[in-house]
Each structure stands twice: as C-alpha cells, then as structure tokens.
C-alpha cells in the first residue's frame, strides 16, 4: 500500500470524473498534434514535390550591361562582353561540395529559326535530363532522335504541324516526332530538339546558352549550392529559382504560428477543465483528506496523491491525444492534399505532446492540491 495505490484506486472509483479530466487534456493535445502534424505533413509534401518540381537553379552566361542615355533619352540597357558557357564546363558541377544534392544538369542551346514563314525559338536540350528537370512533360508521339523535333503545343498550332510532319530548318530536313501537351509555360511556344542537333544547326558545337540544375531541395542548402556552382563556373551567372517556394513556405509558417496559437488556447481551456474538476474532486473528498491527515499523512503526502492522480490522467491524455491527433491528421491530409502524403510517427512531437499534457495536468492541479493540503484536518473531519 503506497500513495500511488491510493491515487490509482481513487481514479478507478471515479471513472467519470477521471474521464472528464482526461477528455479536457486529450482534446487539447489531439488538436495541437493534428495541427502541427498537418503542417509538418504539408511541408514534407511541398518539399517532396519540390524534388519533382524540376530545375531550381539557373545558369546563364554572365554579361556586363550599361544603362545608356543618348541625347537625354533613355535607350535601355546595353549588354556587352557576354561570356558563353562551354558544355564541358558543366561536368565540374559534379565536383562541388553538395554534388550529392544535384539530381540533374540540363544544358540548353537557344536560337531563332524560321519555319513556314514564322520565327520561332528552337531549344536544343538533353532529353534524359529533361525527364528529371521537367517531369510534368507529357509528349504526344515520342522524343526526338537525331533529326526529330518536339513542338510545344502553341508552336504546333501556329505552325500547323503534327507528329510525322516534315520540315526544313536551315536546309536541314527534320521530322516532328512529337507534340508537347500544354504546360502553361513558355515551353508551349518553343520547338525542341536534341542538344547536338541544335548546336549543329546554330554552329555552336560545344557551347550552350544556359543550363538548368535540379537540386534535391528537402533541407538542401540551395544558396550554398548557388555559391558553389558560381565558384566553379566563374564566367556564368548562377541564380536560384525559389520565390514561389519561399512564398509557399512563408504561408505554411504563418499557418504554423496560427496553429500554435489555437493549440495554446485549446490547451489552456483543457487546463481550466482540469483545474475546475480537481477543485471539485478535492471538495468532494474533504472528509477523506481529513482522515488521511488525522492518521498522520503530511501535507506533502496529500499533494502527492492529488498530483499523482492528475499526472496519471495527463500522461494517458498525452499518449492517446498524440495517437488520436496522428489519426486525425491522416484523415485530414486525404482531404487537404492530393496524392499520398506521409504522416510519419514523429518522436519529438510525441514526446512534446506527452510532456505538455503532463505539464498542463500538473500545473492545473497544483492549486487544488495545495487547497487539499491546507485543509484543516479537524474541520475536514467535521464535514463527514
């Protein structure tokens, strides 16, 4: 027989009251876990999508430009000393410190061609790298071979060409191998061919106009990688494409703060429920506390019994609150996100939820416990 036995037996006897206190904290913990897990899952989902998002670093030739006015009139920027990028230099990207984060490097050569009286932009690309850089591409037909071209949807419409159609570019006979389904981007207006084919058409063998790099971005140091690539390609300008990502992440961060605020409010309400219930419990047990004190229980023993009860309920609320929150998150992500979003067991969140539940349970029970301990044993016994 220990103080713990008294606490546990009382909890078993007062199941309804214990259940009420448990529900108070459990709802708070479950709400907090649901909101935080949901944001974690969505952040994870965005990161995961970013990996599929394609290029997030752009390498373009470095140019010097001047802002020019002539006769008091601004005539815009004048670019000069453009330093072309050599295709072979891109191999050096594999030597940077964060090379493991580089998923693909896509060189591209650009130039204007004339087809059926229309001037269009021809892009020579590496179709293997394009699978990673532009995973959303869907091609009607097939990717081009040595003499094939792939048309963007708008380009195909304007040029009135379809797969199998022949065309001549700079006296070179080519065949449309496929048409790119609408992407909603500038790709719809372009004509694509293999990099070597385009280089041959434009006479730019071994040179490229720009390159796209896909870096695995889940916590990868994208700014560091930009610096590292700039270091090995001094003649190129390296830029990170992250505005969209940043804004989405900022939205999530705002939502995370909002979730913390909601969680705190719900947990405070839960704590208040514990306080009120424990106060009621102490009042109901005045006589019992009087007996304890009369037979020699110290004030500290009474406090320990009350806190043991509160701590036990809170610990259970912490465990079940986390599990329920996790379950609710799994259900919620099905409605809030497309595709399979993983909601993994997060030991840190689980430990945090448990600790917070116990902390709130104990903090809310300190005053009732003190009240119980301060009861005059003589008065308490007279209440029986």
């Amino acid at each position: 027989m220990t103080l713990k036995d008294i606490a546990f037996k009382n909890l078993r006897r007062r199941k309804a009251k214990a259940g009420f206190i448990l529900a108070g904290i459990l709802i708070g913990v479950a709400t907090m876990v649901t909101l935080i897990s949901l944001i974690q899952a969505m952040t994870h989902d965005i990161n995961h999508k970013l990996e599929k998002y394609g290029a997030n670093i752009l390498i373009v030739p470095k140019t010097e430009s001047l802002s020019l006015t002539y006769g008091g009139l601004a005539v815009g920027g004048v670019s000069f000393e453009m330093q072309e990028i050599q295709e072979k230099d891109l191999a050096r990207i594999k030597t940077i410190k964060n090379a493991a984060n580089v998923a693909a490097v896509g060189p591209m050569v650009l130039g204007v061609i004339e087809v059926a009286g229309h001037r269009v932009l021809l892009a020579g690309i590496d179709f293997q790298a394009a699978k990673i850089l532009k995973p959303w591409w869907k091609v009607q037909g097939s990717n081009p071979g040595d003499t094939g071209i792939l048309l963007g949807m708008d380009a195909a419409r304007v040029l009135n060409l379809k797969p199998g159609s022949p065309l001549k570019v700079n006296n070179r006979a080519l065949t449309v191998s496929g048409i790119l389904e609408s992407t909603g981007s500038q790709d719809d207006q372009l004509v694509f061919t293999r990099l070597d084919t385009a280089q041959a058409i434009f006479g730019k063998q071994g040179r490229i106009s720009m390159a796209e790099v896909a870096a695995l971005c889940n916590a990868c140091p994208i700014d560091d990688m930009v610096q590292q690539i700039s270091g090995i390609l001094p003649g190129a300008k390296v830029m990170a494409i992250q505005q969209v990502v940043k804004s989405r992440m900022e939205t999530l961060q705002h939502f995370l703060k909002f979730s913390y605020a909601v969680s705190i409010i719900v947990l405070l309400v839960g704590g208040l429920m514990v306080l009120v219930s424990m106060m009621g419990s102490v009042r109901e047990r005045t006589g019992e506390i009087g007996i304890w004190r009369a037979i020699g229980f110290r004030r500290s023993h009474v406090i320990r019994i009350v806190l043991l009860e509160a701590g036990t309920i809170s610990a259970l609320a912490g465990i079940f609150g986390y599990l329920i929150g996790l379950g609710a998150t799994k259900i919620a992500v099905k409605f809030l996100s497309q595709g399979d979003v993983l909601v993994p067991f997060d030991p840190q969140l689980a430990a945090g939820a448990f600790a917070l539940a116990v902390l709130i349970g104990l903090a809310s029970s300190i005053y009732p416990a003190m009240l119980a301990a301060r009861l005059d044993p003589n008065e308490a016994l007279r209440s029986i």
Partner: protein
C-alpha cells in the same frame, strides 16, 4: 510529570461577538495505560478536547504535552508525524475509505512509512486478527456490517501500535450488543497497555473506563466511575449487567 498533561487549555471559536468558548482552562494529567472516559452534554466541549488531544485542533491558549512533547509547539508536518506515531483515532462514523478494501484501510497509517508492502500487509492482517476480522480482509467496507466496520476502524487505529487511542463515540452508530463487543475490545487493548481516551455520553460505555472526566460548559472535573453504576441501574434497571460491568472495571 504525567504521561499526558493538559495545562490550562482554552479554546475559543470565532472572534468578537460571535466568539464561542469551548474550553475554559482545562487542566489534567493522565498516566500511560489509563482508560479515560470523557462525558458531557452536547456542546460541553468534549469533542474539542478530544481533537486537541489528537493534535488536530490548536488551542487558543494553554499547553498539551505527551511524553514531554509540547504538541502545539510542533510545526504542521511534525504534528502529522506525531499523530502517526502517537495517536490512533476511532471515529463515530468509522470513516473508512470506501474504495479501499478492509486490509487496505487498515494499512493506511503505514502508507507513508518506508517499509515493504508485504510487511505492511502482514502488520494489517495481524491488527485485523486482533479485532477478529482477518477473514474479511479483502472485502470493501460496504460489504461488511456496521460493527465490523468499527472493528476495521479499531484495527486501523492500532496497526502502527500508537501509545494513545482516541475514540469519539465508538458505539454511537452500533446496536447495544455490538457496542458491548467493541467496548470489550477497547478494554482488551487497554489491558495490553494502550492508553484509551474515549468521548461518550453512553453510561454503559463510560463504565468500561478506569477514570471518568466530565465536561460541563468547557470546564472539566473528575468523577468516580463507581457513581455510574447507580446511574446505570437507575436508567436501565439491569442490576446484573451493572454489577458485572463494575466488577470488570474494578
């Protein structure tokens, strides 16, 4: 110096015009092994006296000493320790904890001691056997009779072998036969050396005591318990019972 000494105890409840004086300078001395009955009308101050003797109720003035310990100079927690070591309480309404079994109720005073649970159980079962209830150790209080509940309360009061047993109307909620059994039990405990102090206004019970203290309007005086025999005869007409009890008390 007596084993238990009360020196000019005064207890006033409330303040100003609402003040009620329950004790008006009570002094007495009790020896170890005494069996005292405190009698008096309702409101005479006997329950206040008992609570002060149980270290539960701080007197307004005066001193209360047990084994030369000035009880009310002790701090709150020390007084709790004093109650655990020196005092066994037997309440009129038994005051058992309803969700604990009989043996667990008896173990309560041992709860805070640093001894093994198995040892606590042995001590509790031993106390229960002394009151003849070891076979009902695992029942809940609601599953035993009133007399048995009182026996459990007595077992709980003696489990840690305190030198002093305080009983507040121990037969107040019992029929006369069961009451007599309980009084026999208290007498046995007193014979084993325990100091028993009992508050009652039952003459039959009071005659089990070796000494009688009567409370009147907050004042205490000692009476000869033999006088109770005549009073009991007058009230009950049971001469045989009165003589038998008086013989036992002699």
């Amino acid at each position: 110096m007596s084993y238990i000494t009360a020196e000019n105890l005064v207890k006033i409840y409330g303040q100003g015009e609402a003040a009620v004086t329950a004790l008006r300078g009570v002094s007495f001395g009790l020896e170890s092994g005494d069996f005292i009955s405190i009698m008096g009308e309702s409101g005479s101050g006997k329950s206040t006296m008992l609570s002060i003797m149980g270290a539960l109720n701080t007197p307004s003035s005066g001193r209360f000493l047990v084994e030369d310990i000035d009880v009310y100079t002790l701090k709150q927690e020390q007084r709790a320790d004093f109650r655990r070591e020196f005092v066994g309480f037997i309440f009129q309404s038994f005051n058992l904890i309803p969700y604990l079994t009989v043996v667990e109720n008896v173990m309560l005073p041992l709860t805070t001691l640093s001894i093994k649970s198995s040892k606590k159980r042995v001590l509790a079962l031993d106390a229960l056997s002394r009151v003849g209830l070891s076979k009902k150790a695992d029942r809940l209080p609601s599953q035993i009779s009133g007399g048995e509940q009182e026996r459990v309360a007595i077992a709980r009061a003696i489990v840690n072998q305190p030198p002093m047993l305080l009983a507040d109307e121990p037969t107040g909620n019992l029929d006369s036969k069961t009451g007599a059994e309980i009084m026999d039990l208290l007498r046995q405990l007193n014979d084993q050396g325990m100091t028993v102090i009992m508050v009652t206004h039952n003459l039959e019970c009071a005659r089990y005591a070796r000494r009688l203290l009567r409370m009147t309007d907050g004042m205490m005086h000692e009476e000869d318990p033999v006088n109770l025999i005549a009073q009991a005869e007058c009230l009950t007409g049971q001469v045989g019972v009165a003589l038998k009890v008086a013989g036992g008390a002699a």
